[in-house]
């Protein structure tokens, strides 16, 4: 987005790593519509936008984490979604007046989880992949003990907002788009964003270039968990209440949208636009296979093959010098 202010500056990298995910999404959409003979095309797009937003919200946080370098990944997202969703619903208590408080509580939960994650990573120097996994078990336990698996309904107004739409475009998608713009600016135009990229490429060099490595990584893990918390609240509002397992599918999905969206898993390089492409792509893919009436086994198999095909065609990063 704001990267376009300057001509693309990624030397040897693929010029538009995110374009493939959009192309893939478009192709799949075309195939689906062709199959249904054009019925419901608009409807499919609308629902795709709705569901893609959830992926995008968690994907944003995961993307920042992944960008801080190899081995950095946040596996506590599903548990955080469940806990924050529950807390938000309990705090909102079905009253519209308490929605802001509930959202704040969800964000606060995320921030707390993020702090805990980073404490494990930094103070105990546990590799992030294991640290966030261990943390997620603890968070899950807290969610169980706190929520007892009970479903609390969201306030009417909040539910209406999360499911509402204007001219076929969900409010949620509009809000998420705004969030993405902010994140894109954060990524490309602020010292924080550059620092994240620098740390992802070479954290020792980043430290010697005057970047406060610990602080930036801390903020990144907090950001990721906070966005997961936000997603938890939104998801609970959208689906009529929180549940303990509502975050489960976001473990793989959050990673998948980041990498299919063209961010580099070896760190240092990321883009926000690709998240949308990848989210739409993944959602439309399942929809297409469901529409075709493909069974579960074949559907999983095809999903995997198509992801691999896309990434193979798009190709990996080319290194600069032999």
């Amino acid at each position: 987005m704001s990267a376009a202010v300057r001509k693309p500056r990624l030397g040897g990298m693929g010029r538009m790593p995110w374009a493939f995910s959009f192309a893939g999404a478009l192709a799949i959409f075309a195939a689906t519509v062709a199959f249904t003979g054009g019925t419901g095309a608009g409807q499919i797009l609308t629902t795709a936008l709705t569901f893609a937003t959830m992926y995008v919200i968690v994907g944003l946080g995961q993307m920042f984490v992944v960008t801080t370098g190899p081995g950095n990944v946040d596996l506590s997202i599903p548990a955080t979604i469940a806990l924050a969703g529950t807390i938000a619903m309990v705090v909102m208590d079905g009253r519209d007046a308490l929605v802001p408080l509930g959202l704040a509580a969800a964000l606060g939960t995320g921030i707390a989880v993020g702090c805990f994650n980073y404490a494990l990573i930094r103070l105990l120097s546990i590799p992030p992949i294991i640290a966030t996994l261990s943390a997620s078990f603890l968070v899950q336990s807290v969610a169980i003990a706190y929520g007892r698996g009970l479903r609390v309904r969201p306030p009417e107004g909040f539910a209406a907002f999360t499911t509402g739409r204007v001219a076929g475009i969900p409010y949620l998608a509009i809000a998420t788009l705004a969030l993405c713009l902010v994140m894109a600016v954060l990524l490309h135009r602020t010292v924080y964003g550059r620092s994240v990229s620098a740390i992802g490429q070479n954290s020792r060099a980043a430290g010697l270039a005057g970047i406060r490595v610990d602080r930036v990584r801390f903020l990144t893990y907090v950001l990721s968990a906070a966005l997961a918390g936000l997603c938890g609240a939104v998801l609970a509002g959208f689906s009529g209440g929180s549940s303990l397992n509502m975050g489960e599918e976001y473990l793989l999905a959050s990673i998948a949208v980041v990498v299919v969206g063209g961010s580099s898993v070896s760190g240092g390089q990321s883009n926000v636009a690709g998240l949308w492409g990848a989210s739409l792509f993944l959602y439309l893919l399942v929809t297409m296979l469901n529409t075709f009436g493909v069974g579960a086994g074949l559907r999983l198999l095809l999903t995997g093959l198509i992801i691999i095909a896309i990434i193979t065609i798009a190709g990996g990063p080319k290194s600069g010098r032999a």
Partner: protein
């Protein structure tokens, strides 16, 4: 001795066995009955497939990649082992060999297109799982009798799981850490450019390591189905994270070809025993899941201590 303790590299190598012994000691105190042939056998026989999956993961980590599909792959192998293998052994073996070949092919694809392994294996996890569901839409099948008999072998004195784990650790250590071929393969993880400039084929190295990953994954699936006697498509999905945790617990690192097969096997055993310890502690069900996380954290916190001495020594 003092010198040894101050040597961070030694400490780091000593960490996996020390954590294992510690956890075992606590278990023996909490549940004295575990201190027997039967006890060890019961606690550890399901550790063998995990150890094998961990070694499979270690092969891929050695060349700086990560395999997010190993759990799904082990599930698929278990399904093949419970469906095709007993009915037509030849076809079953061919299918398994085919799976290993696909793994080696993945290595080639990842090298050839310079793809991030995480994405490719994430995709493959869907493929393996899908294949498993197609093969076994609902749980069932039964493992060939010889396989069950083999993995449930009652060896004298020391339970089979421990013997097999020891052999596994020894063989992979000799191959990866001591042999001349293993050296090149680890070098390919440490500095691919250096290895290529010395005239080795990185493509072959990647294919070899992925192929080995497939091989150990296959062994893991077969042992697993031998133990459980029947399979389901979701049976081993958890192995993906367990195997990564095992490699790390064993002192391995995600990049730079720094791995330890012996440590990894010990790490896998430690993880399994941690689960047992939790059952013995009788924690409230609400917190049992959290306690698993807590145990992981405690064991890894020991690593932090070692790292600190390492930093001081530097």
């Amino acid at each position: 001795m003092n010198g040894l303790l101050a040597n961070p590299r030694f400490l780091r190598a000593a960490l996996p066995p020390v954590s294992l012994v510690l956890i075992l000691a606590v278990i023996f105190i909490v549940q004295p009955r575990a201190m027997s042939y039967l006890g060890l056998n019961l606690m550890l026989n399901l550790a063998l497939p995990i150890a094998l999956a961990t070694i499979a993961q270690l092969c891929v980590i050695t060349v700086n990649d990560l395999d997010l599909s190993i759990g799904a792959f082990v599930s698929l192998v278990a399904c093949i082992g419970a469906t095709i293998l007993p009915v037509s052994p030849l076809l079953g073996i061919l299918a398994l060999l085919g799976c290993i070949a696909v793994y080696a092919g993945l290595g080639a694809l990842i090298h050839w297109r310079n793809l991030p392994s995480i994405v490719v294996t994430l995709g493959m996890s869907f493929v393996w799982l899908g294949a498993a569901v197609l093969l076994l839409p609902s749980p069932g099948g039964s493992a060939p009798a010889w396989l069950s008999a083999l993995v449930k072998l009652k060896t004298p004195l020391v339970p089979f799981a421990i013997l097999a784990s020891a052999v596994l650790a020894l063989v992979t250590h000799l191959f990866l850490m001591r042999s001349s071929v293993g050296t090149v393969l680890r070098g390919a993880g440490g500095s691919p450019q250096a290895v290529r400039r010395a005239g080795w084929s990185l493509l072959k190295a990647k294919m070899a390591m992925y192929g080995l990953c497939g091989l150990f994954g296959t062994l893991s699936g077969l042992v697993l189905v031998g133990l459980t006697t029947s399979a389901d498509a979701n049976i081993a999905l958890r192995y993906t994270l367990l195997s990564i945790a095992g490699v790390i617990l064993g002192g391995g690192e995600f990049t730079g070809g720094r791995v330890s097969p012996v440590g990894a096997v010990l790490g896998a055993l430690t993880l399994t025993l941690a689960g047992s310890l939790l059952s013995f502690l009788r924690i409230s069900p609400d917190w049992q899941i959290g306690a698993q996380g807590a145990i992981l954290i405690v064991v890894l916190a020991l690593r932090a201590l070692v790292n600190q001495t390492e930093r001081k020594a530097a």
